[in-house]
């Protein structure tokens, strides 16, 4: 039996389930439940189906968190490999999609730490270079090839300047469209903390994008 032909809940139903959840009517059905059960029973095609169902959201989150497609693709692969490896820890006490986001967000946060150290090293090398030390340095510009318009590049750049905990919250809320409750489950923090992080992230972004938002405001 193919993964697509098993009568599992389709994307439309999954979306509807989420709307119900946001409105307060908790729907105690995980749209991924059937696939997860089949995968745990040894059906690898079910896992592939889960990847295809979640890859858009995972990749979107990672792209906004990391700032370039190469890193996002690397970490997306690692996310799904890690999910496959640790799937036995998923206990159905939350939605599978929450578990997926959690693993992806943690992977992104960890990768950012590594990149942060790498960038610090590059800055150090640049400083030495400027001081006359002839060391090669090729800092990359993650946005140059990835984002089409200048405005989008500026927004993405401002996102990358945020502390990673604030960035994760605002990307999940404003770009991925998760509810406060879902984000609290993904990041394993209280809902109040989620709201506060989003508020702080938006304030910081407003400052960073002052030129853009002022223009937009004048144009209203």
């Amino acid at each position: 039996m193919t993964a697509a032909g098993c009568g599992t809940i389709d994307a439309t139903t999954a979306t509807r389930a989420r709307i119900l959840l946001k409105s307060g009517d908790y729907l105690d059905v995980d749209p991924d439940g059937d696939l997860v059960t089949r995968w745990k029973a040894g059906d690898e095609s079910a896992f592939e189906h889960l990847i295809r169902r979640h890859q858009g959201r995972v990749f979107g989150l990672l792209l906004r968190m990391l700032g370039n497609r190469e890193d996002a693709e690397d970490v997306a692969q690692e996310t799904f490999i890690s999910l496959h490896r640790h799937g036995h820890r998923f206990r159905h006490d939350a939605r599978f999609s929450t578990f997926v986001y959690r693993v992806a967000a943690n992977a992104a946060l960890n990768r950012r730490r590594t990149l942060g150290r790498k960038n610090a090293r590059l800055r150090k090398l640049q400083t030495r270079h400027a001081a006359g030390d002839d060391l090669p340095t090729t800092p990359r510009d993650p946005e140059s090839a990835t984002f089409g318009t200048q405005v989008q590049a500026q927004v993405q750049d401002a996102l990358l300047q945020l502390p990673s905990d604030l960035r994760a919250a605002t990307v999940l809320y404003d770009i991925e469209g998760l509810s406060y409750r879902e984000i609290a489950a993904v990041l394993e923090i209280p809902e109040g903390t989620v709201k506060s992080r989003i508020h702080r992230a938006r304030s910081a972004l407003r400052e960073a994008l002052k030129g853009l938002v002022s223009n937009e405001t004048k144009g209203e």
Binding site: I51, I81, R85, H86, R102, N106, T114, K195, L209, E216
Partner: protein, 276 residues
């Protein structure tokens, strides 16, 4: 009763989302009607959110799912059992990472480290490599490395002597080479090697000396080693049991050696059994 600017500004996010209780919202709106500064902030905030939401949806690479399934087919997605401790022993990437880590040991011996580190530091933490049980590894890999996580994980780690690097040649009689567990991030490995090379440019002779020490150590041990401090009985038992659980041909030898070291630690200070 009116509301002041500070209170209004702290609720502008809720205002945008329509989350304000009706009566309070009316008071905020009344304030916004007469305070150009707050109104401007709300407007800028709205524009900021609009800009964020205008970022185009990201299209994942067409081959993402296939690439993942191929890697899983090659064995990468299997759950790690404690046998990984032994399997990683012979992984050249681990050896390389350890070499980088060892160079780091010599350089950073005075640097204090805590367990509140990103997961990748498991591989080359300045206080050494260590054996972690499966639960600890799971927890570390799937949860953020917060202080709470670290506190939860720490008791389940058989920690190594902090100054392990100095003890490779003057070994603690309670220690022995057992194995190595490390999650090796190729980027990180490259990064740390790069950092070492940066340092090498500043102190070429010192770096060369460290490299020679690492090479000598690898030659003598033949494998990427792990020095487990066996001073705590509980840790030793966990390590021995997990070694026996593995199917690796060397597991029983290692476990027996471990037990022997436990019972004769004061009498036999040699650290690296000749058999491996």
């Amino acid at each position: 009763m009116t509301v002041n600017c500070a209170r209004v500004r702290s609720h502008l996010g809720d205002h945008l989302e329509g989350d304000l209780e009706l009566q309070f919202r009316a008071r905020v709106d009344e304030h916004l009607g007469r305070c150009a500064s707050c109104a401007s902030e709300l407007s800028e905030l709205r524009s900021t959110v609009a800009l964020l939401r205008s970022l185009p949806a990201a299209q994942p690479p067409a081959e993402l799912a296939n690439a993942v399934m191929q890697r899983i087919g090659a064995g990468e997605g299997r759950m790690r059992r404690s046998g990984a401790v032994i399997r990683h022993l012979f992984d050249p990437r681990v050896t390389a990472a350890l070499a980088a880590g060892l160079a780091g040991f010599a350089i950073f011996t005075s640097v204090e480290t805590s367990w509140v580190q990103p997961p990748e530091s498991i591989a080359i933490a300045p206080n050494g490599v260590f054996v972690a049980d499966q639960n600890a590894i799971d927890l570390w890999e799937t949860s953020p490395p917060t202080l709470a996580t670290a506190r939860s994980v720490q008791p389940r780690l058989a920690a190594i002597e902090r100054t392990a690097a100095n003890r490779f040649y003057r070994p603690d009689p309670r220690s022995m080479v057992v194995g190595f567990y490390g999650r090796v991030d190729p980027d990180l490995q490259q990064l740390d090697l790069d950092e070492q090379l940066d340092r090498a440019k500043l102190d070429p002779r010192g770096f060369l000396r460290q490299l020679n020490e690492v090479a000598e150590f690898e030659r003598r041990s033949r494998v990427a080693p792990l020095v487990v401090r066996a001073g705590r009985r509980g840790d030793a038992q966990v390590v021995a049991r997990r070694l026996r659980d593995t199917s690796h041909p060397l597991a029983n030898t290692l476990a027996a050696e471990f037990d022997r070291k436990q019972s004769n630690s004061q009498q036999n200070p040699s650290v690296i059994p000749a058999s491996y």
